[in-house]
Amino acid sequence: MAGASTPGVVSGQLALLIPVGSDTYAVALETVREVVVDPRVTQLPTAPAVVRGVFNLRGDIVPLLDTGLLLGLRPVMEEPYAVLVETPHGTAGLVATDMPLTVRLNESVGHSDIEGTTETYLVADARLAVALDIPVLLSPARISR
């Protein structure tokens, strides 16, 4: 599980791009378990706002998290895709608002200042993708706050 040892994805590595609104994020492909299309989400009352709810993954109950709110940005309005990532505390789903795609990352074009992210990469169509630091972003402490 590279997510626990190397924070985020590095250049040259295969990454999954997660579109969230007008932004794009990247996670190392090896931390991704699978992508679920149109997850059937059950609301979880009294949970922190970043928790969109829980859904059933072949009998396992998996939390679905608002990728935008987790980064301190705008909340997402819908959840057409859930990218399942492995964290040190179990599997979690990150909302993607468009189809996630796989790319091999080029050289980093700069450091990202957003907490829970590492580097910025230039990907296809002149888009920028910010690499997520999964162990930091998906820690119980951060989700609770």
Binding site: R40, T42, P45, T46, V54, F55, G59, I61, G90
Partner: protein
């Protein structure tokens, strides 16, 4: 065995590590029995046999260092067995040090390492101990041998794996015990005949979920004592003596890695889902209603039973932790010069293995705290008119979907004034707190009132860690303390993966499940009244606060539907919902470690159609409703309702008679919460005195109590003409027909078996009897 299943040498080592862990626990338990003066030939023979078996096993799987220490251990115990050496503390210490050394050496050996020095030291110490005092009347002169290798504090820390109180203080000589092997659970073997080696004759094993939990199989009560199926070295060996009858009749046990059971549970779940899909396919494509097919119904029923059985296989007795805790009590008592007895009750309480594992450290901490802070020195106790020997009790009990574990002592209690002063230095608000609130300050990080820092406590890094560990398993902790009388910490943890019978309702457009054991009543749609600024409704002549469930959960507004009255640990509350859907069994799963603890949500279950049903938690829900209520007095909880004054009836009074503090207090809280007045007595005699002072409306009594038991009490009550109509309920862990007959013969109105009782059953039995009486 297929090639992929054949075992490598390392696999055998892991298997041995698992087996040895159980044997070492047994050894320590029996050793402490010996120290208490229980030096029967059977115990000594059993100790010897454990050491002998470990030695043989270690040699077979290629762990020469372990074998060496075990050999020295065996030789020392052989001296005791042949009555050439007496039992004294030096012997006990040497054997414990040997056990610790083996615990350290096994994981090293599994990892392909040796530790020549540790093996040598332990072996030497055991050899020296052989030359102890001779036997005098089965005992030895009390004097320690020179050159004690590891102090009791060190061995205690090692045994526990890690010391919560002082992670760095007790490291030293022995490294912490790493996980040597994948976790495993022990389940009764289905059939002795299925085992390869010829097993000693045994009665047919009871199923894990036997019909009478009070009569759990011996192996459930002594999880490490009955694994006779792997007796390849011990029992067959002439040197080990004759096979012990107790061992021969123990339920056969198998050790199964947890992941295999998890896989089993998952596959059964998939099979159930596939069966339901098959059912819908039959209906849609062939237009055959599957519920009309006997074969289909049989299949569904079998799968349900299978699922329940598989879930039960993950459960182990809470008391399997007792040997470790007993050892810690013993070591710490010796270190601090105290006399402490360790008692356990609640052998039939079981819990998910994963949960119990997480409770080991918190419980160890509480037990050590009780010895270090709670129990006074023998001198101080005598001065205060107490017996010199203090008592630390571990009591476990299943209550609905939770297991309640209490750690209590009869020591000096917590000095609330000191707690308040200490906390007040950094937080002025603490000074204003009442005693109950101030008591809970002990769970704050960094707070200690100990005047000196010892190896185990007084660093103020303990109870907050205990609380944090409990949060991780969605448990909670309560404390009660009586100055001069003692302290009790009570932990309540959910039995995860449990199947719960639930009432399913709709609130705010979403379905929720409420565990039936916490449902007291369902009321038809009705108005509420405002009392003291709070919306109240009436239940059985008593006012109960009422709120809208959707509003409390934040998913909607008020509902005009029926109200569900739920009972938490200490109080009741009514919640209005949109509609009642049905009752069903829900396999409750936790929501994982990533999410914070949500006190109002107990977990969730996956429904046959793949949707997720959230299971609510009564205590958390009530707490949330009350907080919202006090935060917003104008909060209109339910629809309609005038503002009439409610005058409650005089609350009925119940006399609870039980010698166990935990049971007494548990029942007190259940009944007080339900609106009753509660008095308590510790035995039949005291109960009669209480009754003569003021006649209660009902008596609830335990059977086994000192001085006068529950049957005698019932008879004594029935003999008095003035008490002839006083309802008596006997509540007991003895579930035999004979006991039940005796209870009813001596005049009891009801007979409830503790291991089967849940809160609502108890309450409804009491309400029925009171209704008939009043």
């Amino acid at each position: 065995m297929s090639p992929q299943e054949s075992l490598s040498e390392n696999d055998f080592q892991r298997l041995f590590a698992m087996e040895a862990e159980g044997r070492l626990d047994t050894l320590v338990d029996e050793l402490l029995e010996l120290e208490k003066g229980g030096a029967t030939p059977e115990v000594v023979a059993s100790l010897f046999r454990e050491a002998h078996t470990i030695k043989g096993g270690a040699a077979v799987v290629g762990m020469p260092h372990v074998a060496r220490v075990a050999h020295a251990l065996e030789d020392l115990l052989e001296e005791v067995r042949r009555e050439r050496r007496g039992v004294d503390t030096a012997l006990i210490d040497a054997v414990l040090a040997g056990v610790d050394a083996i615990r350290t050496l096994i994981p090293l050996a599994v990892a392909g390492q040796g530790h020549e020095e540790a093996a040598f030291d332990a072996e030497q110490r055991l050899r020296i101990a052989v030359g102890g005092p001779p036997v005098v009347d089965g005992k030895a002169a009390e004097e320690a041998v020179p050159g004690q290798a590891g102090s009791p504090a060190e061995s205690g820390a090692d045994l526990a794996g890690r010391d919560v109180a002082a992670p760095t203080a007790a490291g030293g000589a022995t490294p912490p015990r790493p996980a040597t092997a994948p976790p495993d659970v022990r389940v009764p073997a289905p059939s002795p005949a299925a085992l390869p080696p010829p097993a000693p004759p045994a009665p047919p094993s009871a199923p894990p979920s036997g019909p009478e939990p009070g009569r759990a199989p011996a192996a459930a009560r002594e999880p490490h004592a009955g694994d006779g199926s792997v007796e390849a070295h011990g029992a067959a060996d002439g040197a080990a003596g004759h096979a012990e009858p107790a061992r021969a009749t123990a339920t056969e046990m198998l050790q199964i890695p947890v992941h295999r059971i998890d896989e089993l549970v998952r596959l059964i779940g998939e099979a159930s889902a596939a069966t339901l899909r098959l059912g819908s396919a039959l209906l849609e494509r062939l237009e055959r209603d599957p519920s009309g097919l006997t074969e289909y119904r049989d299949l569904v029923r079998s799968l349900n039973e299978l699922q329940e059985l598989a879930l039960h296989a993950r459960m182990i007795p809470v008391m399997s932790l007792a040997p470790r805790l007993r050892r810690a009590v013993r070591d710490l008592a010796r270190e601090t010069g105290k006399e402490v007895r360790f008692e356990t009750r609640g052998e039939d309480a079981e819990i998910d293995r994963g949960v119990l594992e997480r409770l080991a450290d918190p419980l160890l901490h509480l037990v050590r705290n009780a010895v270090d802070h709670g129990v006074e020195s023998p001198d101080e106790r005598r001065r205060n008119g107490k017996p010199a020997e203090g008592t630390v009790r571990l009591h476990a009990m299943q209550l609905g979907s939770e297991v309640v574990i209490a750690v209590s002592d009869d020591g000096r209690g917590i000095d609330v004034t000191r707690v308040r002063e200490t906390a007040g230095r950094t937080d002025r608000s603490a000074i204003e707190m009442d005693d109950e609130a101030a008591l809970y300050l002990i769970f704050r990080s960094g707070l200690t009132t100990a005047t000196k820092v010892t190896g185990v406590s007084g660093r103020g890094v303990g109870l907050d860690a205990v609380r944090a560990s409990l949060n991780a398993v969605r448990g909670r902790i309560e404390v009660r303390s009586d100055p001069g009388m003692g302290t009790e910490f009570r932990i309540a943890v959910p039995i995860t993966m449990a199947t719960l019978r639930c009432l399913v309702i709709n609130a705010g457009g979403q379905a929720f499940a409420i565990p039936l054991h916490s449902v007291r009543a369902v009321l038809p749609p009705q108005g509420s009244a405002m009392v003291g600024g709070r919306a109240m409704t009436m239940l059985d002549g008593r006012p109960v606060p009422i709120s809208s469930l959707a509003a409390v959960l934040g998913t909607g507004n008020g509902s005009a539907g029926p109200a569900v009255v739920v009972a938490g640990l200490t109080r009741s509350h009514a919640f209005t919902v949109d509609e009642l859907i049905d009752q069903r069994d829900v396999v409750v799963k936790g929501l994982g470690e990533l999410l914070p603890r949500m006190p109002a949500v107990a977990g969730a279950g996956v429904q046959p159609d793949g949707s997720i049903l959230l299971v609510l938690e009564a205590a958390g829900l009530i707490e949330r409703a009350r907080r919202m209520d006090s935060g917003d007095r104008s909060h209109e909880a339910a629809s309609g309702g005038g503002h009439e004054e409610i005058v409650p009836q005089r609350a009925a009074s119940i006399l609870v008679v039980d010698d166990a503090l935990t049971v007494r207090e548990l029942q007190r809280s259940i009944f007080e919460n339900a609106g009753y007045r509660v008095r308590v007595a510790v035995n039949g005699e005291e109960a009669l005195t209480e009754i003569s002072h003021e006649r209660p409306d009902l008596v609830l009594t335990d059977v086994q109590m000192p001085r006068m038991d529950g049957f005698e009490l019932t008879e004594a009550i029935r003999k008095q003409a003035s008490l002839a109509s006083l309802p008596v309920i006997i509540l007991t862990s003895r579930g035999s027909d004979e006991d039940r007959r005796r209870g009813l013969e001596c005049g009891a109105d009801g007979y409830i078996v503790k291991s089967g009782f849940d809160q609502s059953a108890l309450l409804s039995a009491v309400e029925r009897l009171l209704g008939a009486d009043r």
